[in-house]
């Protein structure tokens, strides 16, 4: 059968391009590709261009590897592509974007929680010492 539609079957109305993570890999082993695709497309289906990858599981040296093709990302953002939150956070951590507010907020929350935990532990230790005496 001869396919008469265009290369990406683009007959969308009011769609836009997004830079997002497309999930791949195997069971209990995820792997994301950073991809420029149309908004209406399924998450893992045909994309316009692959702009990088992200491996969420840390490797032997305890690193999570991320790859970016900055030139093409610049191009797609210039053409008006949106980015999803995880992609924005990753780019912020890489230094290409400013740091995402939620990254900072979550880091602060974790620090506060660690502080309160420490204070609680110290107070508990003090109480135990007092009881021992």
């Amino acid at each position: 059968m001869v396919h008469l539609s265009s290369f990406l079957l683009t007959k969308y109305h009011g769609g836009h391009i997004v830079i997002r993570l497309a999930l791949g890999g195997a069971t209990n082993r995820p792997f994301y590709r950073i991809v420029a695709a149309y908004n209406k497309r399924a998450r893992d289906s045909k994309y316009i261009e692959q702009l990088g990858s992200y491996d969420p599981l840390p490797n032997i040296h305890n690193e999570k590897l991320v790859a970016f093709n900055y030139e093409r990302i610049k191009y797609w953002i210039a053409c008006g592509a949106h980015t999803t939150k995880p992609v924005a956070t990753l780019l912020g951590l890489a230094g290409f974007f400013p740091l995402h507010p939620m990254t900072i907020t979550e880091a602060e929350r974790r620090q506060k929680a660690a502080l309160t935990e420490e204070v609680k532990r110290e107070s508990q230790e003090q109480v135990e010492q007092k009881e021992a005496l």
């Binding site: 610049k74 191009y75 210039a78 008006g80 974007f97 400013p98 507010p101 907020t105 602060e108």
Partner: protein, 208 residues
């Protein structure tokens, strides 16, 4: 009864909402509108997650700044891309490309001309050689023809002389009587005998 799980949920974003019981908008999951509520969930009042107002203010500030920077970045990238495109099509890049192509064209034309010249020279030499050969051949054929003509004339002259010689012995009306007389007077005998060894005997018995 129970619809299949649909993927998209109605998004609910509530910032700075009060702590009191406020029902969130219903999100349709597994069940349709007419399905009864589960027994364990009859008295449930869903409250939104607690929000720290101080943190929220700080967060809003950070978000406005972040969005500002992102918008600026987008504009920047767009401008860069437009500039590059412009350069590519109209500006310096296009000029350089045109110059390079002109250079290439000129060099190629020069090469072509040189090649043509060379081949022209070779062709001229060849034509010259061929002309000379043809000339030579023509001359030779002329000579040969001349020779043949001369030979022919000579041959014909020889034949004429021969004929003239023979004509002296011809029988003409003047000689007729004389020759008859001679012939009658000298009978010639052409008979001869030959045996297997090749011995020829001319003299035979005389016959009248």
């Amino acid at each position: 009864m129970l619809r299949a799980l649909s993927r998209c949920h109605a998004p609910v974003v509530r910032l700075l909402s009060p702590r009191t019981a406020v029902l969130v908008e219903t999100v349709r999951g597994r069940k349709s509108r007419t399905d009864p509520k589960a027994k364990s969930k009859l008295g449930r009042i869903k409250t939104p997650s607690p929000v720290d107002p101080v943190e929220m203010v700080v967060l809003k500030e950070r978000y406005t700044e972040y969005n500002l920077i992102l918008r600026a970045l987008r504009r920047e990238f767009k401008e860069q891309m437009l500039r590059k495109k412009y350069e590519e099509e109209v500006g310096s890049v296009a000029e350089e490309r045109a110059k390079r192509e002109a250079e290439e064209h000129r060099s190629l034309m020069a090469l072509n001309d040189a090649e043509n010249l060379r081949i022209c020279k070779i062709r001229e030499q060849r034509m010259q050689k061929e002309a000379e050969a043809a000339e030579l051949k023509k001359r030779e054929t002329a000579i040969v023809r001349q020779q043949e003509l001369e030979n022919y004339i000579k041959e014909k002259e020889r034949q004429i002389l021969l004929l003239q010689e023979e004509a002296k012995d011809f029988i003409t009306p003047d000689n007729l009587d004389q020759r008859i007389e001679e012939a009658l007077d000298n009978p010639k005998n052409y008979n001869f005998a030959i045996d297997k060894e090749g011995r020829v005997v001319k003299r035979t018995a005389f016959q009248q």
